[in-house]
């Protein structure tokens, strides 16, 4: 088994300067190893820090302490300490992330948003993946700003999956999907695992989690520092 992602003693707290420097500890002593083909689900109550962990893995949040090792181009790269340009490269080749909400770019059509994330920029593959996620052709040429929440999420999923990254981070990928579309996403996750993709995900739906996750990592809320 190849470890794709290794988190060691990760800690994270926010310092809220606009609240008089209030310290908000969220993660402490998080350890996690994810192998190729495995899916680990993050569990824990709302506000516990699941999204914070996922964002830290992506290098979107700054780790306060610890290491986040990502297998990239044959080496383990520490995302927690890597310079920005390295993080950009790791994201391009190795690390995919599907955020909870699509950040829409004015004027850019759904098809281009997805194709730009494809390694070969293929519009055909982008269209095929959008179709698989039940986004009809008539929507492909439109910017997703006016799409429903579920449609935006499926565009976001297409963008996340088309990159073919060996590691995928998924934040509530089925949260605003109906059962039929959730089934498609579950199938895509299952296929990715079969290809050897390592996945860390947050799945609010217990049934979805049961069907895709091999293991759970429970994030317990930390007490506020007194």
């Amino acid at each position: 088994m190849i470890p794709m992602l290794e988190v060691q003693h990760l800690a994270k707290q926010f310092t809220l300067h606009l609240r008089g420097g209030l310290q908000l500890p969220v993660l402490h002593g998080v350890n996690l190893t994810v192998h190729a083909g495995e899916c680990v689900a993050l569990a824990g109550p709302s506000g516990a820090g699941k999204s914070t962990l996922l964002r830290s893995l992506y290098g979107n949040y700054r780790a306060g302490a610890g290491r986040i090792l990502i297998r990239h181009a044959g080496e383990m790269v520490d995302i927690a300490s890597a310079p920005p340009r390295t993080v950009v490269q790791v994201r391009a080749k190795t690390l995919g992330y599907v955020s909870q909400f699509l950040r829409v770019v004015p004027r850019v059509p759904a098809l281009d948003i997805v194709a730009e994330a494809a390694p070969d920029r293929s519009q055909e593959k982008a269209a095929a993946l959008l179709h698989r996620l039940n986004i009809p052709t008539r929507l492909h040429a439109l910017p997703p700003a006016t799409f429903s929440g579920g449609e935006q999420q499926r565009v976001n999923l297409a963008r996340g999956f088309i990159g073919g990254h060996p590691i995928l981070l998924l934040d509530e990928p089925t949260a605003s999907l109906d059962a039929a579309n959730a089934d498609i996403v579950i199938a895509m996750i299952t296929e990715a695992k079969a290809r050897g993709v390592a996945i860390v995900g947050i799945f609010h739906d217990a049934e979805v989690r049961r069907r895709v996750a091999d293991r759970l990592l429970t994030i317990a809320p930390l007490q506020d520092a007194a």
Partner: protein
């Protein structure tokens, strides 16, 4: 200087009387990278752009540029003709006000072609063809090639300035608030254009903007300035989503969504 940077500055300091416009500023830019400089009005962004591009001298500090032959040039020690030649070819400068760069008494095509001629091209037919091609690339109807810029809208003028700047395929472009002062819908179109051109031509950009959403859309990395000091720097989404410095937290919390 870092082994593969295109532009590197160390310790740039500049005061206007008692006003600190730049305080010990370091900056690095790699080929093909977009670096946004953000901060409130008066924080020193334009001054930094002017110093990095050699248009203004600092009181202290050094700026290095690496040319295509990998030779290093001290931007502030270069002879004036060499610096001017750089600005005509390898470099571009997009001003907030397009009238500062365009010649209003010369046709749209002439404005674009002029920069090619300044870079040494002489064949009239080729120059006109390139000008028409670039008008199309910035979404200006090529039929307007002989029209005077004063008949253009603000958004068109800015797109014309971009065509004039990019026609020589510069490797490094300095932009000062390129979407400032334009209507929101016009801004969106311009941003989309800059985004695709910069990516396609693999141009390195130092982009000054007070608009965090513009930085988010265009920049790989970001530098946050306050009273001449770089208070925070890093990956754009990281600085905007998990700001560490008090001033960055204030900036981020002051906008609706960036």
């Amino acid at each position: 200087m870092n082994e593969d940077t295109l532009l590197s500055a160390r310790g740039l300091t500049l005061h206007f009387g008692k006003v600190p416009a730049l305080v010990n500023v370091d900056a690095d830019l790699w080929p093909g990278e977009v670096l946004a400089v953000v901060g409130e009005s008066g924080s020193g962004k334009t001054t930094l752009l002017n110093v990095l591009s050699g248009r203004m001298r600092a009181d202290a500090g050094v700026t290095w540029y690496r040319d295509p032959q990998s030779r290093l040039h001290d931007v502030h020690a270069m002879p004036a003709p060499a610096l001017r030649a750089l600005h005509r070819s390898d470099w571009g400068f997009v001003h907030q006000n397009p009238r500062d760069n365009l010649r209003m008494s010369v046709s749209a095509g002439g404005n674009v072609g002029e920069r090619l001629m300044a870079a040494g091209q002489r064949h009239y037919g080729n120059i006109r063809e390139a000008a028409i091609d670039w008008l199309a690339q910035v979404e200006i109807d090529p039929a307007r090639v002989d029209d005077m810029p004063r008949t253009f809208s603000g958004g068109m003028l800015q797109r014309l300035q971009i065509a004039r700047t990019l026609v020589t395929h510069p490797r490094l472009v300095f932009m000062d608030e390129p979407t400032g002062g334009l209507d929101v819908s016009v801004q969106a179109r311009l941003l989309d254009l800059i985004r695709s051109l910069v990516a396609r031509l693999n141009i390195a950009v130092v982009l000054v903007t007070h608009d965090l959403a513009v930085a988010r859309l265009l920049a790989h990395r970001i530098m946050v300035m306050q009273r001449g000091v770089v208070v925070e720097t890093g990956l754009t989404d990281k600085v905007l989503d998990d700001p560490q410095h008090e001033y960055t937290q204030l900036l981020v919390s002051s906008v609706l969504q960036a």
